[in-house]
Amino acid sequence: MAPRRIRAWVCLMLAAILFVAVNIFSNAVFTTARLDLTQNGQFTLSGGTRAIIAKLPEPVTLKFFYARKTAAAYATTTSYAKRVRDLLGEYAALSTARSSSRISIRSPSHRRKTRPPRWD
């Protein structure tokens, strides 16, 4: 294989790795950067929610149960879980100033310690 061809393949591989890295980084960092174009601001926290979070009298722990390994094969579920996690993250970010609510994320591998609530 000619050196130019090898160099092109290496460049392409590096570009693909950069593409994956950029997207993993953006998924982890830009969790609240979005423009909600819906008429009623369906995907934006309302003033009422903000007021409740600001006045939390005691620490609140939200547990997010998500079977990461099982859900990995279903993009729709993964995407939905991402939205729920982002929402919880927004709650936590809003509360940091005035209350000490906290989000802890548990996966089923931790079930011996923490079980999800039963729906009876």
């Binding site: 909600d36 008429q39 995907f43 990995a72």
Partner: protein
């Protein structure tokens, strides 16, 4: 920038020099209408929104956009005009980007010509026009992503049929990359973060998120980084071909 504008304008005008533009636009609009009103039962749904309309976009683009992209470089190579094009005093990236932007603008024109359906839905009820706007933005970005893949593949061959078929397959894999059809090939051996990363490259989920009314920075980064990746691949392939 002046050179880029000149290349883009020339390429865009070239679509209208042959019946290609009109044939494509008519088929595109006909297919959009047929799928929305007949296959998607737009009236029977009784809801004044364009969810059905946008729901078919990924699948229609899967065939229509590669048809638009297949000629970008294959035609130049088959006609022997590639040599002339590459010897012009224009940087290679300008030529690649110009051709791509012209095709994307043309796809945007085709999408914009679907505006009667927006008028229809506003006449029938009171839809959330913010969601519809987001749907159009998402659809335009998705068309751009499909085009970049098609353009890069078109540069690898002088046979337009091969370019079309391979582009359709590549676009299909990206469209359904979040489904078990693709992920099952990786689940057995690949580490979980890699499987999750492949799953997150699905056009369907990114488009559905935008079409839901929220333009998330992560979705924008996904589409623009994918376009940049394939345009870079396009430049590399053309550059290699330039020297035989």
């Amino acid at each position: 920038m002046r050179l880029l504008w000149a290349v883009t304008r020339r390429e865009f005008a070239a679509y209208f020099a042959t019946p290609l533009a009109f044939v494509f636009l008519v088929i595109f609009l006909f297919a959009m209408g047929a799928f929305t009103f007949y296959v998607g039962n737009f009236y029977e749904n009784g809801v004044a929104d364009l969810t059905v309309f946008f729901g078919y976009h990924p699948w229609l683009y899967l065939f229509l956009v590669p048809a638009l992209a297949m000629r970008l470089w294959s035609e130049e190579r088959a006609r022997g005009t590639m040599e002339l094009l590459l010897t012009l005093p224009i940087p290679l990236w300008v030529t690649v980007l110009g051709k791509y932007l012209a095709a994307w603008a043309f796809a945007g024109l085709a999408l914009a010509l679907t505006f009667p359906i927006w008028l229809t839905v506003n006449y029938l009820g009171s839809p959330d026009n913010g969601v519809i706007l987001a749907g159009y933005v998402g659809s335009f970005l998705m068309a751009g992503a499909y085009l970049s893949i098609g353009a890069a593949i078109s540069a690898t061959t002088d046979n337009q049929v091969i370019a079309f078929v391979v582009s359709v397959v590549a676009c299909f894999l990206f469209t359904v990359s979040g489904a078990p059809l693709v992920l099952d090939a990786f689940r057995g051996w690949a580490p979980l973060p890699l499987v999750e990363a492949i799953s997150s490259f699905s056009f369907l989920t990114h488009f559905a998120a935008i079409a839901g009314g929220v333009i998330d920075l992560r979705d924008l980064i996904f589409f623009f980084s994918l376009i940049a990746l394939f345009l870079y691949a396009n430049i590399l392939v053309v550059d290699l071909r330039k020297d035989g």
